[in-house]
């Protein structure tokens, strides 16, 4: 019995870890950090159900689709998972998104009437660029804040990036995420390659440094606007209490977010 419980807790924890890899495309923040995932349930035969909901009924269906698809893809990647059922709730196109994603149908098939015949490639690329820019800005600002001059920053290499340690929490989080996209896009391959380029591959220069930061800032201003609204709207929509008001649930224990005073009660 105890063993079963331990296995279940481990499986749940694995699912949550995968879900952290799914970003809200508009915000480049994990859907778990945004609080979009409500529930993960394990069923017999390696079946996993993931319930999620968004800040409003009107959240753009293509963003919702990308998230549902991301959930399906990430959770399916676990070796013991046989089947994933993603359930989006309280959304104008919940039914279409759920049927499509769980049935393995692509976006184009589900939303034929509402799209102009092409798929989501262009949209994905756009969001990927913005994510890259936001992550890069965070790293650049942290470097600047620690007194590193622009000419040194623009001369940094991928190896240098690996040696950086930041104090600030956001920079600590964004540094590896920036590196991931930098390498994934092939903007830096070897340790001696420059650590900072624009999305289209141009190297940064000391002269253009301030202008480059301004451009990145405007990208962040957009993303922060939506991020702040999404958090606020979601809290308002579901009448959520502020963190710490509620008794922790199993999920909180698994994810290590239980304050010390409760820890003794852990299963």
């Amino acid at each position: 019995m105890r063993e079963d419980r331990e296995t279940e807790a481990r499986f749940l924890s694995e699912v949550w870890a995968r879900l952290e890899e799914v970003p809200d495309p508009e915000l480049d923040e994990p859907i778990t950090a945004m609080g979009f995932v409500e529930l993960v349930s394990l069923r017999d035969g390696g079946r996993v159900e993931v319930d999620f909901r968004l800040p409003t009924y009107w959240c753009s269906p293509n963003f919702a689709f990308l998230m549902a698809e991301g959930i399906h893809r990430e959770v399916s990647a676990l070796s013991w998972v046989e089947r994933v059922d993603v359930r989006l709730h309280d959304h104008m196109f919940a039914e279409q998104v759920n049927e499509g994603v769980n049935g393995g149908r692509d976006f184009h098939e589900i939303f034929r009437e509402l799209s102009d015949g092409t798929d989501l490639a262009e949209l994905r690329a756009k969001f990927e660029e913005k994510a890259f820019q936001r992550r890069q800005e965070c790293v650049l600002l942290a470097l600047r804040a620690s007194g590193v001059p622009p000419e040194t920053i623009v001369a940094m290499t991928l190896d240098d990036l690996g040696r950086l340690v930041f104090e600030a929490e956001d920079a600590r989080m964004q540094l590896p995420r920036y590196r991931t996209l930098l390498v994934a896009r092939g903007l830096a391959r070897f340790g001696t390659d420059p650590a900072f380029r624009t999305w289209s591959g141009a190297p940064l220069t000391a002269d253009g440094f301030a202008d480059h930061l301004q451009r990145l800032k405007s990208v962040r201003l957009n993303m922060e606007f939506n991020g702040a609204l999404c958090r606020g709207l979601k809290r308002a929509r579901y009448h959520e209490h502020t963190a710490g008001d509620e008794e922790p649930t199993l999920v909180d224990f698994i994810r290590g977010r239980v304050p010390a005073r409760h820890a003794g009660a852990a299963v």
Partner: protein, 340 residues
Amino acid sequence: MYKTPDGKEIFVIDAHTHFWDGSPGNQSNIHGKQFIDCFYAYHTALSPSEELWEKPKFEKYSADDLYRDLFVDGPDDMAIIQTTVLRDFYKTGFGCIQRATDLAARAKDRFIVNGAFDPRDGEKALEYIHFMKETYDIQGVKLYTAEWHGDSKGWRLNDPAAYKCFELCEKLGIKNMHVHKGPTIIPLNKDAFDVHDVDYAATDFQGLNWIVEHCGQPRIDDFCWIAVQETNVYGGLAVVLPFIHSRPRYFAEMIAELLFWVGEDKLLFGSDYAIWTPQWLVEKFWAFELPEDIKQERGVDLTPAVKEKILGLNAAKLYNIDVDAMRAKLSQAPVSVAAE
């Protein structure tokens, strides 16, 4: 009017207000419920806690509530009521030009009522624009491109049918186009917050003023770029301004960008009443100063003179209001709750 702490009287035009009925009795379907619920979420998410309303009042407030919140307890001298119809979601319209006009009758000088049309109605839209001009003498319209109608989940400003409407507006002297860029659904494979249709329409209709509500957020970069290119593009601060309370540093960054790109002569105050009430917004805005580093970075400042433009003088120009004359006129008819 808003009286500053040092006694200066500031003329306030609230360029974005609503007189809606989102109550369950007026909702046609789940979409109507979800729409007002979403507005209420905006209200609760960004208001200071002492400004929060109960849901039933938020769904349907009275003409007295509006009058008191804007003019008696609030700092507005004048308010522009925007009409957002949402006819597929609400039985008698979420907003309704006749209802707003009846309300405005109690203090004619204080209100400007804007109309609305749906280009997807084709010829009927053109007839309706004529009707609004003749009946209500409108000077502007609210364009809500994300509105659903039948199978259609929205329209774009550069649709041919929309252009026919704009041609007519220009001919009739309906000059102020308040564009609300809500998240649009079609085409679904594209960015839901794209604002580039504003660019086409503003280029092709130089004689019209394009006031983009909430400054095109969350595409403020695209909006700023368009506003630099087009001399007839303005930014409405509804939704942007409430961040002054919850995230002041972030608000400072946004307003600095807007001042740098769009400019101090082209930004308009709007409370988006009843999502937010104007008193706290204007108080906080007047007291707000840009942090030194942000000022330096962009070389802009939010001086009292700039604030005065944003709070009323810019909108006065768009609506041909002689501020001194209007001040004098309004002082002859002081506001009071009993005024009917």
